[in-house]
Amino acid sequence: MSVRTTFERRQNRIAYAFVAPATLLIVLIYLAPMAMVALTSFTDYTLVSDYWEWVGFDNYRQMLADPAVSNAVRNTFVYAALFLPGAFIIPLLLAIAIQERKQFRSILELVYFLPVTSTLAAMALVWAGLMDSRQGVINAALGWFGLGPLNFLGDPGTVLFALAGISLWSVIGFNMVLFLAGLTAIPRSLYEAAAIDGADHPVDQFFRVTWPMLAPTSVFVAVTSSITAFKLFDTVAILTKGKPDHASEVFLYLTFLEGFEYFNMGYASALSVVFLGVIFIFAAVQTFWADRQTHS
């Protein structure tokens, strides 16, 4: 009996030794910085002064009253509302169309996936060139129809559309591949059973078989795309810097401004905590749904 317990204790010790490096890395890389951010959000720490003190929830209270924050939240939501439907529906339709093709399927997949493999920061500059109000190809094309010219990135009314368009271009291929994987996993025999049962019209097929069978994929795509929308940063930082007139100042870019332009680390940390909280909610939805799918 005692021999057995000593053995078990030794086994446990070995197990702990094995997980220790990974645990340490997780703590160092993820948990400790998050804790630091959370703690900093309760201070008035700035990068320009050595002096700081605890301020409790002041930063969070300030956020609620800050017009820059409400502007950033509104911009983020408008952007998400422009980006998300396209980021979901276009890849879904593309995936269904490509799935049914025998010829060219892999070539089409490759073509749509190419933007995903490119560096968005570099491609953003290409897009800026395309969308230029004077020399841009897009305005030249609009000119053919007697429209424009539009200053896509310089006009407060169009800048979020332009940013959403660039993001769409970069994400469609990725989401399409996710949907394709989901579609491929649907057993063919379900469509055959549906055909025998009378559901051979594409609309019936879609609503009776494809859409419900695609539910786990759809949730995943919706959640990851929402997170992508919420953490919009790089194209803003490269192309517009929040301009014109704060019209493209989205939440994460504002956080960046507060922290690294105005050096208000305490306030920036509080914004980051809110950001983390929102991402956490999305992740929780995803996990909860994935669980439900596997248990039913």
Partner: protein, 398 residues
Amino acid sequence: MARLTLSDIHKSFGSTEVLKGISLDVANGEFLSLVGSSGCGKSTLLRIISGLETPDRGTIEIDGKAMTALAPKARGVAMVFQDYALYPHMTVAQNMAMPLIMARLPFHARLPGMKWLTPHLAPLRAEMAGQVEQVAQQLHIDHLLERRPAQLSGGQRQRVALGRALVRNPTLFLMDEPLSNLDAKLRVKVRTEIVDLHRASGLTFVYVTHDQVEAMTMSDRVALLQAGTLLQVAPPATLYAEPQSIDVAKFIGSPEINLLPVCAEPEGLRLGATLLPLSHGFKPGTDLIVGLRPEALRLSAPGLAQLRPAEGPELQLDMVQASIEDLGSEIVVHGAVAALPDIALRIRAQKSLQSGVHKIALPERLSLHAPMATAVIFDINGKRLDPQSVARRQEALA
């Protein structure tokens, strides 16, 4: 109620010809089994009947009406898939209601959310639910209606698949190896249930299986498919006793039929050194193959029940025993003809009750008797020689 007529069905996938001209008539209310080894084209033929696959050539008629160009739903056929193909996201009730919804609700009422926007169709929906309930009761699955397929056992899923096929009131019932995913015991149970279902419904059944026992026990007629051609279509007993070719004889029956190569000589049929003193009427020098079912061979040994002595001429052979399989009620002896070691023999013998629990011991060298009246004779190409013409020749000789 339906009579199914297939004429000259051809089907190729790429360069492989899977079906090479299948013609078949299934009578109204008949239970026809389509049997053959794996990959011989059974599923393909069934899918062509159902309309999931189009034949390259040939026609399908149901009750004289051409079906070849019709969509599956227009053919009035029901199909039970090998993996059941239940909709995993729907409850049992929804699964079973699917054919009714598709057939009876108008297109706009089938779109998502239309249940609440088309309240005038509520009576119709209730009627369909009632129909589902009724079929569920018939199959004893009415307590499962709210479950999802993942929460059901294999046997229950099987029943739901049957139920979904039944609610639509089909004229023709197609089943593709419906029992192959069940364990052995359940298989026997569901087998009888399907036969009962056939009898009660009076529908025409086409039942695909690779299991000859299923085919032999369930069917009115068995169609034996091999490499894309129908070898023989006959009632089970005929198929067993009167196989039209060696391939049929080998496929049906377990253990396999014994095949002895013989050569016709003036005095009889020669098997190696043994001469079968049999008047036969074949031209001397003709090579023939004699088929003998394992249970027709007679072996006398302690512990074995005595068979009735056979009528007519018997072939007497010396045999070297290789192994014995004791199946409880009977034994199967494997061995070789003493004179020709490469000719395998299988013998099935009843055990007598007295032998009890003792292991049956047989001497290594056995003597056995094969009544020639039960023999089927094939020509060297494996084609059955017409028994009547064989008899006529013998008479002429006598």
